[in-house]
């Protein structure tokens, strides 16, 4: 829709957007700032924006006390693994829902989404029991499985919306050209849906990366990802704000950088295929 927007309106909207952006960004900014302060300055009242002693000591201590790389590696494997597994399951599921829907397809989709409305703690007990029974506690494999299942509805939904934009004629043409179901999905549907799959993957990596409930409850040491790494610094004893901030900064840095370089896909992913 072409509509002339007055300059004043433009300025007002830009200012508002900047304010909202800054408000949202402020906690992250504050965390990063605090991570470079000493513990005493970190809890100084009034808070210090400048004039503090810039120090990297917190990072050194954090690295010394716990092995950052091990947590990072666990996060990468769990977030990446659960997303890849999820996409492998969701592509055929979304294919069937988008291209050979039944009368119940919409209901199934909504039902799947409704599982996201369930408080996670509601199923903590049964899942813990299953984990104990199958020796999955504190294993990366167990977490990959749980996070995959938790995010699966969103992956299916997103892929379903993208697939629906693909003309069915093209898939039928592939069938006429001698492609079986596997070839049709592999050579025609997937390459055409790459932008959609990319946003889905990105969003799910972020969701899995930030997932704290299951990672904290089902891991101890071996499989603990960065969320557990941060949590280990939120100790009620002693002054650890600066170290907690350093740990947080280290934990969010990778995903922040990933998000920065893939903003376009992310926006598309977050709008759920509504914007064409």
């Amino acid at each position: 829709m072409a509509r002339a927007v007055s300059t004043r309106r433009k300025i007002a909207m830009t200012t508002l957007a900047w304010i909202v952006g800054l408000v949202i960004f402020f906690p992250i900014f504050w965390t990063i700032l605090t991570s470079f302060k000493t513990e005493a300055q970190a809890i100084n009242n009034p808070p210090l924006f400048w004039g503090f002693d810039f120090t990297l000591e917190n990072y050194a201590v954090v690295q010394e006390r716990s092995d950052y790389m091990r947590y990072l590696w666990n996060s990468v494997i769990i977030a990446g693994g659960s997303t890849i597994l999820g996409v492998l399951v969701a592509v055929p599921a979304a294919w069937s829902m988008a291209f050979v829907p039944s009368r119940r397809t919409k209901d199934i989709l909504l039902w799947m989404l409704s599982t996201k409305m369930l408080p996670a703690v509601g199923v903590l007990y049964p899942i813990s029991l299953i984990f104990v029974e199958f020796n999955l506690l504190d294993t990366r494999g167990g977490l990959i499985l749980v996070l995959m299942l938790i995010n699966l509805p969103i992956i299916v939904w997103m892929l379903y919306t993208y697939f629906r934009e693909i003309p069915v004629d093209i898939l039928e043409a592939a069938r006429m050209d001698g492609a079986g179901l596997r070839e049709e999905i592999l050579y025609v549907l997937t390459p055409m849906a790459i932008p959609g799959i990319a946003s889905t993957v990105l969003l799910n990596v972020i969701l899995a990366w930030n997932e704290a409930f299951w990672t904290l409850n089902l891991t101890a040491a071996t499989a603990a990802p960065l969320t557990a790494f941060i949590a280990s610094y939120s100790s009620p004893e002693g002054l650890f704000y600066a170290k907690l901030s350093a740990a947080s900064t280290m934990a969010i840095a990778p995903i922040l950088i990933l998000g920065w370089f893939s903003q376009k896909q992310l926006v598309r992913g977050l709008t759920f295929g509504a914007v064409k």
Binding site: D169, A173, R175, D177, P191
Partner: protein, 334 residues
Amino acid sequence: MGRITLDKVAKSFGDVEVIPPLDLTIEDGEFVVFVGPSGCGKSTLLRLIAGLEDVSSGEIRIDGEDATSVPPAKRGLAMVFQSYALYPHMSVRKNIAFPLRMAKLDAAEQSRRVEAAADVLNLTEYLDRRPGQLSGGQRQRVAIGRAIVREPAAFLFDEPLSNLDAALRVGMRLEISELHKRLETTMIYVTHDQVEAMTMADKIVVLRAGNIEQVGSPLELYREPRNLFVAGFIGSPKMNLIGGEIAEKHGAPTIGIRPEHVTVSNEAGEWHGTVGVSEHLGSDTFFHVTCDGIEEPVTVRVGGEVDLHYGDKVWLSPDPDHLHRFDKAGLRIA
């Protein structure tokens, strides 16, 4: 080889019967056109033959073999879609080679066949472009290229020209006819345009509401339409269909006369009327004459230019040798 036989083939979607049981045989090498108004089931029939839809009952045989439950990929048929349905992420070369790749042909043979098809269809210089960079006509040629490379038993065309502009459509029509003459492969072509049907077909199948109204060569259908529907559908401009007393005089509830079989005179004739709108095509002129006792204006074709104007009074006479008579049920009276 591509002889296709439909034996009591029927299709329903839920409770709605789209195609009641029908029989049809398409001979090897024939150019068959399914024609009918929109919603007549012609595309569904084509998709049943393709295997993109499952039949509800009946049997489809390709070269004598039962293909009813064979998936589309294994029927050995190639299809050209109205929307072209090219793979947007592949170059023209890869699009055309796709069926060969699926058939696991070796790379040398693939590129040989792609080059040959591109040469036939004048696509050689576009082989490395993506479909998005081509015009409508070129895209349609790529779609045809993709169909011909695998040397199918039969080609299925689903309204392939309806997305093209009029001039291009005439050109592509000739190209497809030319292709048929050269390949001598069975072609089944679906269109709602009776001009396409008349100009291209060896055999026309006229469909209405899933029923076959008539099967025959274009001229058979033109000269001896089996019923009122075919009479009105085949031919442009349409046959004049006249009922009432005037028809009774010729011994039928309804009579039909084609525009070229009516003569115009200033002095005498059978029907008296007033000239209405006229259409000048240069080679022919069509006059729409409102006659006394006839509801619809009668269309008359006159060769070249004639000095008649809006409002002129004229006499029309139908050629009795070319008069079509239909009974109460709309069927042709022999």
